[in-house]
Each structure stands twice: as C-alpha cells, then as structure tokens.
C-alpha cells in the first residue's frame, strides 16, 4: 500500500507552509490580543495594529469577541493581553491575580438613540436614570444587546442605577447581536437602544435613528489594557504583551487616538486618557 505514504507526504508538504510558520514562531513572535467587537468595529485597531507590528516586529492576532469572552480568554491564559471596557469585571480579574499592570488607555462614551419621533419623549431629560425610568414607565420598545458585551454590562448597570428591572418586560427585547446589527434592529422596529458613539457615528447615515441623550457621566465607556499574568500562565508572551501595552499608552499613539475619526465623522471617536486617574475623566 505504497500510495498511503504518498498521500501523507503530499498533505504534509502542503500544510508545512503554515505549520512551519507557526512552529517556528513558537509563540514568541506572536501576541494574542483579546478585545471586544465594538473596539474592532470602530476601526481604531486597523490603524494601530499595523503601526505596532511595523515598529516592533511582533505579529498581533486580534481576537474580537464579547467582553465576557475576552476576559475569560485571559483567565484561561489563552490571550496575552486584553483591551476591554468592563471595569467591574476587570477589577475582579486583576484581584484574582489573572491580570497585571492594568492601565487606563482611553474612553469613549455611550449615547442613547431612538426613532426621530421619540415616542417616550426622552429628549432633553437631564440624566440617564430619568431617561430609563421614562422609557419603562411609557413601556416603549428598548433593544438590548443581551450578549454580556461591555455595552450590555454598562446597560445593565444603568438599569440598576435607575432602580428598574427590565427583564421579561414585553417592551424590553434582547437581540444577542453585535452593536451595528442591534442598531439596525432598533431602527427597523423604531425602538430605543444604548450604543457607543463610535458605532453610531459610523452607521448613522444609513439608520433612521437620532441621538437623544448623551454626556451623563454614567455613560462613559472606559478602556483599560491588562497584561495576562505570566506567573499564573507561563506560556503567555509576557514581553510581547508588555510591548503592546507600553505602545498603546505611549504619547505618540495617544495622539493618534486623539485624532482618530475626525476626518471621517467630523468628531473624534475616543478620548485618550493614559496616565490619568479614572476619577478625573470627563471633568
């Protein structure tokens, strides 16, 4: 049965192309960055990653999933560095020893959008809490991402702060979808939803949704970069992770972040905050 051997040789040769690359890298040249879909969708990483790769020679594998999954990846040691925006979960993560050098990177904010008709009449209300209370009281349609993403977690906090439990109410619907898709559903169904400003700006020309509430300090979406603790998971690329973290908080890159989006949308999508304290933000 000589042809069996031929077969294996053929497949082996073809796979060798990739295999060699991966094995040769032995993980040292690669950095696995776990981040969120909204971060990736904003396009910021498409700009920053090539800069980093060119500068340092590392090959970054950006895995964009929900916040929950990103942090879970860090907990399992399957990522080298996290760029997420879920403060409560992050603190938990670091407290349990899975993450080190948690550093503030930037923030963007959430806004509440809805149909131009604004059936619950929330425009002009001062605080988010009031907005949520009004929507609940009027029983008007609200779309939630329902996927444990950073956005979803923030939304749940806001409901809690407003003293309302929207679960199982017939005006509260969970899409389980990404931000862009959820906005589409909201536009189609003429409902309200919480979104990060970046995604809204990127898609607004195709959506029949308007910005109805913003700037409440509770609506800030704060991004940190966390290196996965090599003491817990020796296989992580600690050097690569640190290099990326240092890179993204560096002055040069912070400047890039400051200007990102101005050209395309007329306003910046993120506010660089490296070096600041969280309490100082938004003031």
């Amino acid at each position: 049965m000589r042809h069996w051997k031929c077969l294996f040789v053929v497949i082996a040769i073809l796979l060798m192309g990739d295999l060699g690359e991966s094995l040769g890298a032995a993980g040292q040249r690669e950095v696995i960055l776990a981040t969120t879909t909204s971060t990736q969708d904003s396009g910021l990483l498409d700009l920053l990653i090539p800069l980093f790769e060119k500068k340092t020679g590392y090959f970054v594998k950006t895995i964009a999933v929900g916040s929950g999954q990103a942090i879970a990846m860090g907990r399992r040691g399957e990522a080298d560095i996290l760029l997420v925006h879920s403060p409560a979960a992050e603190e938990h993560f670091v407290k349990n020893g899975f993450g080190i050098n948690r550093r503030l990177v930037m923030h963007n904010d959430f806004v509440i959008v809805g149909p131009p008709e604004d059936p619950a009449k929330i425009k002009g209300l001062k605080s988010v809490a009031e907005v949520f209370k009004r929507i609940a009281a009027e029983g008007k349609l609200f779309l939630s991402r329902g996927d444990n993403s950073g956005t979803h977690v923030k939304e749940k906090e806001l409901w809690k702060a407003a003293g309302i439990n929207p679960e199982k109410k017939r005006w509260y619907q969970e899409t389980g979808l990404g931000m862009g898709e959820t906005l589409n559903v909201a536009a189609e169904k003429k409902g309200y939803t919480l979104t990060d400003r970046g995604t809204y700006l990127a898609l607004r020309k195709n959506l029949r949704l308007v910005l109805l509430s913003e700037r409440d300090e509770r609506l800030m979406n704060i991004y940190h970069v966390i290196e996965v603790n090599p003491a817990k998971w020796p296989k992580v690329n600690a050097l690569g992770a640190k290099a990326f973290a240092d890179f993204i908080v560096s002055q040069e890159i912070q400047e890039v972040i400051r200007h990102f989006g101005k050209e395309k949308y007329g306003e910046a999508l993120f506010y660089p905050d490296a070096g600041k304290k969280v309490e100082e933000l938004g003031k």
Partner: protein, 232 residues
C-alpha cells in the same frame, strides 16, 4: 431593494478595482477550502471505498458513525478543535490556534464524513460481482481500487461537490479556530459576518455575491467534468 442594488454595485466595484483586501480574502477562501476539500477527497474516497468493500465486526457501527458525521454541526467541530488547540490544551504546543492551518483542519474534519458517506453509498451501489470480475482479470488490489473509483466517478464527483459546498460556506468553525484576523485568517464567509455585525450591509452583500459567484464557478467546472463522463 436599494440595499441590494448598492451591494451589487459595490461588488463589481470591489472586483474590478481589484481591491487588495477583497482579493486576498477571496484567495484565502479558495486556498483553505480547496485544500480542505482535497484532503477530505483523498481520505473520504479511500476509506469510503475500503469500508464498502470489506466486511468485519463492527462495520455497521462504523457506518452509522460516518452517517452521523455527515450531519455534524460545524460549530461543534470548531469548538472542540479550539479546545484542543488552546495554548494550554492537548495540542497547544503546536501553536495552531488562529492560523489558516487550523481552519483547513477544521474544514477537512467537517467535509471528510460527507465525502466518505457518499463514497460509501456510491461504491456499494456498484454491482456486487464487479469487484470479483475485476480481480479475476488479474488486477492487484490497487488496480481494482482505481477501476472501481472510475466506475463510480459520477457519484464520487457529486461527493466532492458536496464536500466543497459544505466547507466553502462554513463560518462557525472558521471563526472559532481562525479568529477572523484581518489579512491572515479572514475569509469570505467570516468577513461577511463581520461586516454584517458592523452594519455595513452593502459590503456584506458584495462579499456574499463574490462568494456565490466563486462557488458557482467551481461547481460549474466540476459539473462539466461529471457530465462529460456521463454515458451518452
């Protein structure tokens, strides 16, 4: 309606401008799914034929496994492969997670039972005594294998088309084991999912059209080969 038209226009625009990213995504789709189909073809036809021609204890059990495998949900395959390929997983030392190789392996695992199951059925539907007739002509086992495969060519080509169709359109496992990394493991299907979730429906439609066109082209070629061999 507008959206569809936008999509079509965008698709042509992307194709004719030879947008580099779209080009590389398309090429990667072909490479990954093509190689996976080739592997599944070799493994599937060989083992499907072997199984059709031999008898042994537990053969029926094995056949039922293959038939189950034909309906194996791709995401399940993706999940299990991911777990194996995790750094701290059994095969973590191979550093294959989030690489095109992992995608090829996942797709090959998805396609092989399909090709195997159809090959098995195809070979079993050949006349029983044909194998004996061929052996009586003095054929070696290898020669007999090739002659039977040629006899069942029509059905086997259908098996290949089924296998290819199954993986070129696969997205769940591909995202899980590939990571949908720009310029590295992003293929037409995973890119379409990404653009859709971002809300860029026109780009998503454009990519879908390219994918459909690609699938049609390849199936056209395979169909022509298959029907050319048809007894006229």
């Amino acid at each position: 309606m507008e959206l569809l038209i936008d999509g079509f226009l965008k698709a042509f625009g992307l194709l004719f401008s030879m947008d580099r990213e779209v080009f590389s995504i398309t090429l990667l789709s072909l490479y990954v799914s093509g190689l996976a189909t080739f592997i599944s073809l070799v493994l599937g036809i060989t083992f499907g034929t072997l199984l059709a021609l031999t008898e042994f204890r537990g053969r029926n059990f094995l056949v039922s496994l293959i038939n189950t495998g034909m309906g194996l949900p791709p995401v399940v395959v993706g999940l299990f492969i991911t777990i194996f390929l995790w750094r701290n997983g059994l095969l973590g030392f191979m550093h294959l997670l989030y690489t095109p190789t992992a995608m090829i392996v996942a797709q090959a695992i998805i396609a092989t039972p399909i090709v195997m199951g159809i090959s098995l059925a195809a070979m079993q539907s050949l006349p029983q005594k044909l194998r004996f007739q061929i052996l009586s002509l003095g054929a070696t086992r290898f020669q007999m294998f090739w002659l039977l495969v040629r006899e069942a060519k029509l059905s086997l080509l259908a098996a290949v088309m089924a296998g290819f169709g199954g993986v070129i359109s696969e997205v769940g496992a591909s995202i899980m084991v590939g990571g949908n990394i720009k310029g590295y493991t992003r293929v037409l299907t995973t890119a379409t999912v990404l653009e859709t979730s971002k809300g860029n429906f026109d780009i998503a439609i454009a990519l879908s059209i390219i994918l459909l066109f690609l699938v049609y082209l390849i199936n056209l070629v395979l169909t022509l080969i298959q029907q050319r061999e048809r007894p006229r």
